[in-house]
Structures are given as C-alpha cells and as structure tokens.
C-alpha cells in the first residue's frame, strides 16, 4: 500500500493548479453572478492539453488513468473555481469513456483526437427525463431506424453544457420497453452532432441555485435525424455501455467534492484565525474549531476512498462499491465543510463577496447529482450488503 503520489501525479497537480490559480476570486464571482460560461478558463485548459488527459495516446491523448483525471478535477475545484470551474469541462473525462470503450475504430479516429485538443467539445450527456428520474429503463425518448439514419423524438431534463458542446451523447429507446427481452435492454447510445441539429433540438435553460456558470437545460427533441454510423456500441445495449462508465464518473465527482470541501475549509480556517470577536479569534472557540476539525477529518477519509477506488479502476479491478462509497462520503463531507464554512463566516458567509455561499450552493448539488445519496445507499444495501432491493 503506497499513499504517495508519483512524481508525474505531483507535477500534474502543481501545473494544472498553476493554470487555474491565474483565475482569481473576482473572475469566478463575476461568472457566477452573470451566469456566464468560463470560456477563457476552459479554452486555456484545452490549449494546455488537459482535455486529452484520459484519452488513449493512440488517439492523441495522454493515456492517463482515472487517478490522474481525478487529480486534475480536484485541483480545478480547489483553486477557487469551485464547481463553476471543474463542471464547466469535467464531462470531457467521463462522456468520452463510452466512446473509448465501445466506439468503432472510425468513430474513435474521427472524434477522439479533436476532443483531446478541445477542437470538438463532447461534454453533454442526455440521459435523464422528467418522468423516469433515476429509473433510466423507463425513459420515453425513442429512436426509430429509417434507412441509414435514426429519427429521435423525446424530452430530456437537467442536461448540462448543451450550449457549450459540439457533440452530445444521448440515450434513447430503440426497442419499446414492453417488447424488450429485459427492461435494461433496448436502450441505445447515439453521438448527436449538435451543430447539425438545427431546430430539431430546442433548449430551455433551467435557472438553478447552484453552479451558475454552467448551463443546465431541458431539451425538446423533435424528428432529430442521426446517421446510423453515430450509434455508439451495440444497438439495445446502451445502458450496459453507460454503466461501464459510471465508476469513473463517481470517482471524478468524489474528487471534485473533496476539492470543494478543502476550498471551503481553507477559507473558513483562515477566517477563524483572523476574525476577532469577544477579544479573541473565533477559531479559539471549540464551537467553531470542532466542526471544522470534523469536516477536515471527513474530507481526508473520503479522499482515501477516492484514491482506493481510482487505484482499483486503473488496475482493471472491480471498484463499484468503492467508487460509490467515495462519491457518497465525499459529497457528504463537502456539504458538511461548506455548511460549516458559512457558519464560521456568520452573516458574511451569506454574502456573495466572501464566496463560501457559492461553495455551499455547489455542495448541495452533489448530494443529488449525478446520482443521489439515496440511490448510492440503495446500491450499497443491495449489491454490497446483499439486502433485498428496496425500490
């Protein structure tokens, strides 16, 4: 068991942080306030090669593992950007995953090198629908094959970065639920070129209390024609292809939560040392000090599980339990840390100029997305503990 990062991992941590540090608190406050995508930040990241981190070398990437990818996302978050920064581009790491694993050679050669350089933005993932929620088998978006293309109709909700993407990965039913051999069969993945979609996809931005700089949308899809060669993987096996990518996604999200928690704690601890009330720093009071210490301990524990899950994944070993526990514990730790940061700052904690309210809003999202705390507990109960399925 080795708890040290490698030379290369340390370098990655320091250099990506150096890039992110150039974007100070004012930049992020403005982006959040104006609900504006951090275009400059994302473009600089792409230019420095960070989009290609986990894309295989033969397709123009660096061929790094989930461990390194998670370090990048943690540093982007902890730099002060919060989720406005990391979530502006994190999907390039996990949306590319099914393409790497299940794409045809042609698809990989066409898309991956350009995704690695940032020339093509593949960072929208359209799964969720209003009626189905987390029960993806019940989605109502359908894709019907007509000649050499599919025609897609349906609605999607909570789809991020659509305005900032060239390509979107979309899940649709190709076999109706009632005709599918199993409810998990009959779903397929499609690479949708948003640049060609025209009025077939209408987008409505949903204003959320969280992650203002990153757009979240409702999509209305009408007679969208997608060439048959844009089917990703096997027809009808889409849900299984997607599930292959869930563990990396959990690990990436855990690392962002860890970054967010550390960021909030760093600010809160500094404030607790400097803020004098009743003639002493407020951090001298156990009422302030203990919750900060607890939050710190929680983050460190979650971080251990993040690295365990990432190491297992990169070694090709099963890691579903660890990846789920990492996401669960990291999101809870981030919520505790950001909540306590707000409490430490008192009234200022709710003022936009002090940033911690933004981190708190960000952390709230992570208890729900991309998978809720309850669904992870369901997973642990059923698949790890062997208890009867509860839903």
């Amino acid at each position: 068991m080795d708890f040290e990062l490698s030379e290369q991992q340390n370098l990655i941590r320091k250099e990506v942080r150096k890039l992110a540090d150039a974007y100070g608190p004012e930049y992020w406050r403005e982006k959040d306030k104006k609900r504006e995508y951090p275009k400059e930040f994302v473009e600089e990241l792409a230019k420095a090669g960070w989009f290609g981190a986990v894309i295989p070398e033969e397709y123009g990437g660096a061929g790094l593992g989930v461990t390194e990818g998670s370090i990048v996302l943690e540093e982007l978050t902890v730099s002060g950007a919060g989720l406005d920064g990391s979530n502006a581009c994190h999907a390039v790491y996990f949306v590319s995953h099914p393409l790497v694993k299940h794409g045809t050679e042609d698809q990989k050669k066409t898309y991956l090198p350009k995704i690695a350089t940032g020339e093509l933005r593949f960072q929208a993932l359209a799964i969720t629908e209003q009626e189905s929620g987390f029960d993806t088998t019940k989605i109502r978006t359908v894709a019907e094959k007509k000649g050499n293309h599919y025609v897609i109709n349906g609605k999607k909700v909570f789809i991020s970065r659509v305005a900032q993407s060239d390509l979107m990965l979309l899940v649709a039913r190709t076999t109706p639920l009632e005709k599918a051999p199993k409810k998990t069969k009959g779903l397929s993945l499609f690479i949708v070129d948003l640049r060609d979609a025209g009025s077939s996809i209408k987008r409505r931005r949903i204003d959320m209390i969280t992650r203002h700089a990153v757009d979240t949308n409702e999509l209305f899809i009408t007679d969208l024609e997608v060439p048959a060669e844009n089917l990703l993987g096997q027809e009808g096996e889409g849900l299984y292809h997607l599930m292959d990518g869930l563990n990396p996604e959990r690990i990436y999200i855990a690392s962002e939560c860890i970054g967010l928690g550390r960021l909030a704690l760093e600010r809160a601890v500094k404030y607790a040392k400097e803020r004098i009330v009743f003639d002493r720093p407020i951090g001298q009071n156990q009422g302030i000090q203990f919750p900060l210490a607890e939050a710190y301990a929680d983050i460190e524990l979650a971080d251990l599980m993040r690295y365990k899950a990432a190491t297992l994944y990169d070694r090709g070993l099963p890691c579903a339990a660890e990846a789920n526990i990492a996401k669960l514990s990291a999101s809870l730790a981030a919520f505790k840390a950001t909540n306590q940061a707000v409490q430490t700052f008192g009234g200022y904690g709710l003022a936009e100029d002090y940033d911690v309210e933004r981190f708190f809003r960000d952390a709230r999202l992570m208890l729900i997305a991309p998978i809720s705390t309850e669904m992870i507990l369901n997973y642990i109960g059923e698949h790890v503990l062997g208890l009867p399925r509860s839903y």
């Binding site: 290369q8 370098l11 150096k18 890039l19 420095a48 090669g49």
Partner: protein
C-alpha cells in the same frame, strides 16, 4: 540569427516552501523539515524559464543540474517537464551539510565536463539568501559573470547583452563574452505553466545521477568537512507588534501625528 544555437546550463536548488510558516529544530542550527513542502527556488525558476525562452528562440540544449538529497529530484523532473532536455542530479550522503562554497565547487566540477555557452542560476536562494553560489561557480570556471540580471539579449554566438540591477534603483547595461554565467533576478520574464504534453514527454528524458566518487573532488572537500561556514544558530528576529490607534478618525489622526512627533520623532 540563423544557425545560432546556445547550450545553456541552469543550476537549480530545492528550498522549503515556508508560506505556511516554519519551525526551528531544538539544536537551533537547522529548520525542522518534517511536515514542510519543498519547491523550486523562485529565482531559479525564473532562470529556467529564461533559458527555455532563449532555447525557443535560438534552439540548443538546456541542461539542468541540482546538488541535493533524493528529494531534490523533484525540481529536476519539474524542469524536464517545463522543457529542459536533460538533468544531472548530484546526490550523495558525503555532500550533505555542504555550504554554498562546496556546492559551487561541486557544480563547477560537473559543469566542466559539459558543453555550454551560458550558465544561469537564480540570484539567490530563498532559504539562505547568500547570493554567492552562482558567482563562486563563475570564479571556479574562470568565466565572466553578471549578477541580478533583469534582461538577457543574445547579440551573437560570441556575446550577449544584459541589463542588471544596481544599488539605488539604477540599471546597468553590459555586453559579456560567451561562455558566461548570469545570476537571474526574479521577475525577468513571465513564468509559464507547462502543458500536459510536456509532462508526458518528461518521462522519456534522462536524470543522470552522480555520486561523490564520480567527482574529481576529494571527500574531505565535501560536506561539513569541506565547508568553511558553520551555522551556529538560526532564529527569528524579535518582532515589534503593530498597534491600532482606536477612536474617531479625526482624534486618531491627531494622536498618530503626536506620537510620530514625540515618540518616533519622524515629523
């Protein structure tokens, strides 16, 4: 300048990162290293960046050298990831505890075997701030040198122009024949972060390790034995606390003026 290439050697030192404070060991002759992070000396980082900018413009090879413990390898790997071509790490227990004079001897001993046009070092290290290792290297190699350099301009294959800081905020412009050694002032150029591609390329670059037996120096010339300086004690100067003069602004300013006149006697 067509056809002009410069081979540049950059000397790098790893220093403790003391942004979050530091503690002194009970023996009082060195700082407590446990729990500290280490980083490249800031002025050396600028020297490296300047070397890489010259390389970008004219071509040639950038070789980085560090004398230090196993841990110092980090700064060499960093330099390779920034774009340096190869690295030399002089590390041996026999060198531990060396003063700047010994480090300069070791560096000169290594540099003599290499082909170079220019040597860059940082103007001083953040930890010891003695500012003499670079100059001592140039003396041992009988090279011309300029210190506190704030601008480098390559004139031709035989000479370079430099601007250097002088006392009283003055600037001195000089021309120096090559090969030469320059100690580089922080801020000479803009530090760049490196790209992922360069980090990946660094894996294939060489960090050559030299031990005490690989040097032409006798063991008695190294480490504590060879050092002329002995650190007796390090500590913090007694800090004078600031004071906030309370009260309404008008009254507070009056009090401040009175005290500047009567206590500080500066008005």
């Amino acid at each position: 300048m067509k056809g002009l290439t410069l081979n540049i050697i950059v000397c790098l030192k790893q220093v403790p990162d003391i942004r979050n404070g530091l503690q002194i060991e009970e023996s009082k002759d060195h700082i407590r290293e446990a729990g500290l992070n280490f980083k490249i000396n800031e002025a050396d980082d600028y020297a490296l960046q300047e070397a890489l900018l010259i390389k970008e413009k004219f071509g040639g090879e950038v070789i980085v050298i560090s004398v230090g413990s196993d841990r110092a390898r980090e700064v060499l790997v960093y330099a390779l990831a920034k774009g340096a071509d190869r690295a030399v790490h002089v590390r041996d227990e026999a060198i531990a505890g060396s003063d700047g004079f010994v480090v300069a001897k070791v560096l000169a001993d290594v540099i003599r075997r290499l082909s170079y046009d220019l040597i860059l070092t940082g103007v001083q290290s953040e930890d010891e701030a003695q500012s003499y290792v670079g100059v001592a290297v140039s003396t041992r190699l009988a090279l011309p040198h300029a210190s506190s350099v704030t601008k480098v301009e390559v004139v031709n294959a035989k000479k370079i122009g430099v601007e250097r800081e002088m006392g009283g905020g003055q600037l001195e412009v000089m021309e120096i024949p090559l090969p030469a050694l320059l100690t580089i002032q922080s801020g000479i150029c803009e530090l760049r972060y490196t790209t992922l591609l360069k980090i990946m390329q660094a894996r294939k670059k060489e960090v050559k390790i030299l031990r005490a037996q690989d040097l032409t120096l006798d063991r008695t010339e190294l480490g504590n034995d060879g050092s002329r300086l002995k650190i007796v004690e390090i500590g913090f100067p007694e800090s004078k606390r600031g004071e906030i003069i309370a009260g309404e602004p008008r009254e507070a300013v009056i009090k401040l003026i009175q005290r500047l006149q009567t206590e500080a006697k500066v008005l």
